[in-house]
């Protein structure tokens, strides 16, 4: 080839120069576990469904959500949202209002009549589920998705368990509950109401069930010995709340005293107020800080005019005169009696001292370990008797709807594995996407959307739902506040900031890859990744 004067080499592109050989560290894309997902007792992929909600694909978001939890409208109302306590956005401004978006998706599903995907091909296996509470419904749903037939036996007259007989209407409207239960039953699940199982082994044998899942809940109210005259009206919180559902509205009188400090105490106090009690007074032997009830629920109750007498125990009751004793906390934080007494006038005493489980259906089952009134299960939710699994309030755990739904999902996977003669192995969890792994410069300031609250007069007099939902506009806003911690959301930052064009964009939904031929390992991409989805690894030299 004839070259111009003083030119001796062929010219060419710098692509011949593989600058990747300079590298001592290489960037690698990673997926980290978002703290919300990690905190969710129901094992939801929260970030995963928010991703679709962000672009207004609500149906797809809902479908993604119900892969793990079949009851989003309900969950968005009654869950205590541990996800939001873990949310990294709280360190930036305020946590994403996850439960409000979840509720919005659940309500959209109801509005548009969205259905679950049809169940998998039938496996021919049949599982007996005892109890139609959150755990039982959840396990039946997940079993149906895996192709197994499920029959639920429920001792009560209606499905829902403690969601119906424990959570008042003003927190969970019954049309919401009914719709979500019906959608689960529509998957071909048999529900037998008013069917109490007294002997689980006999019941399984009789109808040839291959496995059983027990979730009978904790419906037996704890009692305490308070000296009282026969004339005194003493009720327990469980029967009061149950009575609200079965049509026997309890007569509570004008002045009601509630004894206990849990969420049930608040629920029953707020119910009493709505039933017309002029005074609803909670007596609790410890302090506000020690109260097991959630603070926001206490605040809602106080707003509605519920009164609380902290650090007091009820000593005895004579007709309408209650004698209470003042307590003090000792150095270890335990309440101790002081000998100082006081009296209160009231018409009714409602005990809200916790609940026990009726385990009589397990009397004839060998090999079970029962501790503190609940059945022990192994990591796979199986009791000591092979093929009998259990979950919800009857196993050792926090007693919430979300935990129960999570038990159902976990048990279904393990029942599936057990029926197939294997063991379900959960995939290894990714490293948690901590706040310090994020580059928060790239997120703009966006304060949390506040849900509307019903006005106080209607809250005191009716069972209308207290907390309102989001509309489409602010649900979209709220979804977009998600930081996508630890997982690429295709913001193109790495692709943009690489001085060497060593990041290859693969197209929408396909993310990116590094071209290690040219990547010099400067680390700019990792540093400028908003969500911490790139890590630098030392090269082996």
């Amino acid at each position: 080839m004839k070259k111009p004067f003083a030119i001796t080499l062929d010219t060419g592109s710098s692509l011949a120069n593989h600058t990747g050989t300079w590298r001592t560290e290489r960037p690698v894309y990673v997926d980290r576990l978002p703290p919300c997902n990690h905190a969710c007792p129901a094992g939801e992929d929260i970030q995963g469904w928010l991703y679709y909600a962000e672009s207004g694909e609500y149906k797809r978001a809902w479908q993604e959500l119900v892969r793990n939890n079949p009851m989003p409208a309900l969950m968005g109302r009654v869950c205590y949202h541990p996800c939001e306590n873990a949310c990294n956005r709280a360190s930036l401004d305020e946590a994403v209002n996850i439960h409000a978006v979840e509720r919005f998706l659940g309500d959209e599903a109801r509005k548009h009549g969205w259905k679950f995907e049809p169940a998998a091909r039938p496996s021919g296996k049949h599982v007996l589920v005892v109890g139609a509470g959150p755990s039982g419904l959840s396990v039946a749903y997940h079993l149906a998705r895996l192709g197994h037939k499920a029959t639920i036996c429920e001792a009560g007259p209606l499905a829902g368990g403690m969601m119906r007989f424990g959570i008042p209407k003003y927190r969970l409207p019954r049309d919401v509950l009914d719709a979500e239960i019906q959608r689960i039953l529509d998957m071909g699940i048999t529900l037998r109401l008013n069917t109490r199982v007294d002997d689980i082994l006999a019941a399984m044998k009789k109808s040839g069930f291959d496995a059983a899942f027990l979730a009978v809940g904790a419906h037996v109210a704890k009692r305490t010995d308070i000296p009282a005259r026969d004339a005194t009206r003493i009720l327990d919180a469980v029967s009061v709340l149950r009575g609200m559902e079965t049509g026997e509205r309890p007569q509570l009188g004008r002045r009601v005293v509630i004894y206990g400090g849990g969420n049930t105490a608040l629920d029953v106090a707020r119910t009493a107020k709505r039933l017309g009690a002029a005074e609803a007074l909670i007596v609790y032997r410890r302090t506000r800080e020690q109260m097991p009830a959630h603070d926001f629920e206490l605040q809602e109750a106080l707003d509605e005019g519920i009164m609380v007498k902290w650090l007091n125990t009820i000593k005895c009751v004579e007709d309408t005169t209650f004698t209470v004793e003042k307590m003090v906390l000792d150095s270890k934080g335990f309440p101790q009696p002081t000998g100082e007494f006081d009296t209160i006038e009231a018409d009714t005493l409602i005990l809200a001292l916790g609940q026990d489980v009726d385990l009589s259906l397990l009397d004839k089952v060998p090999g079970l370990a029962i501790e503190k009134g609940v059945v022990k299960v192994d990591r796979n939710m199986m009791t000591g008797y092979p093929g009998i699994f259990a979950g919800g309030d009857m196993v050792p755990s926090e007693r919430t709807v979300t935990v129960a739904i999570g038990h159902g999902k976990k048990a279904a996977r393990n029942i599936d594995a057990w029926l197939l003669g294997s063991v379900s192995a959960a995939p290894a969890k990714h490293e948690i996407a901590r706040f310090d792994l994020l580059n928060t410069w790239y997120y703009s300031d966006a304060p949390k959307t506040v849900q509307p609250m019903l006005d106080i007069i209607r809250r005191q007099s009716s069972f209308d739902e207290v907390q309102g939902g989001l509309n489409e506009d602010n649900a979209l806003f709220e979804a977009r506040r998600c930081l996508s911690c630890g997982n690429c959301f295709e913001c193109d930052n790495c692709y943009g900031v690489c001085p060497d064009n060593a990041v290859v964009k693969l197209g929408p939904g396909k993310r990116f890859e590094f071209n290690y031929d040219y990547c010099k390992g400067c680390g700019l991409c990792a540093e400028e990744c908003p969500c911490g989805a790139i890590t630098m690894q030392a090269e082996t030299i």
């Binding site: 979804a479 506040r481 959301f489 913001c491 943009g496 900031v497 060497d500 400067c522 680390g523 700019l524």
Partner: protein, 330 residues
């Protein structure tokens, strides 16, 4: 479905390079899978080079604005050396290099030649570092401005002669250590009260468009290049590009350092039309100058056994003055 709400949350429309929620035309040029990569892979710039990044940002945007009809004239400097070691080139555009000090004059000539040939479609860009622009090429630059030649001149300012070994230029900030302003004596580093502000000098020529930009603010940079490409006559864009080697900052921190220069007020982002300031970037999260200085070894002598409080205060005063003069805070 259509989105009612303007996209401004989550990853946001403007802070990150792209945003899947935005329509294609509203995204950054750098987010495009088919961006031109005018400065291609294989160039020999250091790890985390701010100038290589700034040059691709600017020229890709200019290519998009002109339908890929751009010719560039390059002054001698890092950008020229690392992109074109004989016989290779990283440029995917017609590109011309002559001398250190004459890029503006050569570009003016290219522009004149195109005019003679009737090629109105081709746009001419001249580019160089702060040395080639502000010191050695300054006479040619001023001439190009006063004649209002149809050229966009882009200065990549890394605040010293990095290619030859980090010697002081008229863009070197006070107190910075360079090979020729060592950190010894009563007043270590570069002397206070020296240097010049070329964007303001360019404005004094009353040319159609002058802007400052930073690699830390891509969307702002692209908008400014597009705007400059949309008008005729002499235009000037001054881009702040950190140099990990010369500044002694970590290669991974290039954009962070540039961002802190902007957010401290030391490098104001402004634009001016016909000699009048027409736009300014309001600081989003104002930071003290220490945050910026601490990341760079060229200022390490300020943070020795005893922190040099008075020098830092003098630098803070420069930042504060910028904030008030250019109205960077609300």
């Amino acid at each position: 479905m259509t989105l009612q709400q303007p996209v401004k949350f989550y990853q946001t429309g403007t802070f990150t390079v792209g945003n899947r929620l935005l329509a294609g035309h509203a995204r950054a040029v750098q987010a495009n899978m088919r961006r031109t990569n005018s400065l291609n892979s294989g160039h020999r710039a250091c790890q985390g080079c701010g100038e290589a990044l700034g040059a691709r940002y600017a020229i890709d945007a200019a290519m998009q604005a002109s339908g890929n009809r751009v010719m560039a004239v390059n002054a001698t400097g890092c950008l020229e050396v690392f992109s074109t070691p004989y016989p290779e080139t990283s440029w995917q555009i017609p590109w011309l290099h002559s001398l250190f000090g004459n890029a503006a004059a050569v570009a003016a000539g290219v522009s004149a030649a195109l005019r003679v040939k009737g090629r109105k479609d081709v746009k001419v860009i001249a580019q160089g570092g702060d040395g080639g622009t502000m010191d050695i090429g300054f006479g040619c630059l001023s001439g190009m401005f006063e004649r209002n030649d149809d050229v966009l001149y882009i200065c990549y300012d890394n605040e010293a002669y990095m290619n030859t070994g980090v010697q002081r230029s008229s863009a070197t900030p006070p107190a910075a250590r360079t090979a020729t302003t060592t950190a010894v004596g009563q007043q270590p580093g570069n002397v206070f009260g020296t240097g010049k502000n070329v964007p303001l000098i360019a404005m004094a020529h009353h040319i159609p468009y002058v802007a400052t930009a930073s690699v830390a603010n891509l969307r702002d940079l692209e908008v400014k290049v597009m705007r400059a490409m949309g008008v005729g006559g002499a235009r000037y864009i001054h881009i702040h590009v950190p140099c990990p080697l010369g500044w002694g900052s970590a290669p991974a921190d290039t954009i962070k350092v540039a961002r802190l220069a902007v957010e401290s007020g030391l490098f104001p982002l402004i634009e001016a039309e016909n000699g009048e300031i027409s736009g300014r970037y309001k600081l989003r999260r104002r930071v003290p100058v220490e945050d910026y200085l601490k990341l760079q070894r060229r200022f390490a002598h300020l943070f020795g056994k005893e922190t040099d409080v008075s020098t830092i205060a003098a630098i803070q005063a420069i930042a504060d003055r910028n904030v008030s003069v250019f109205g960077l805070a609300d």
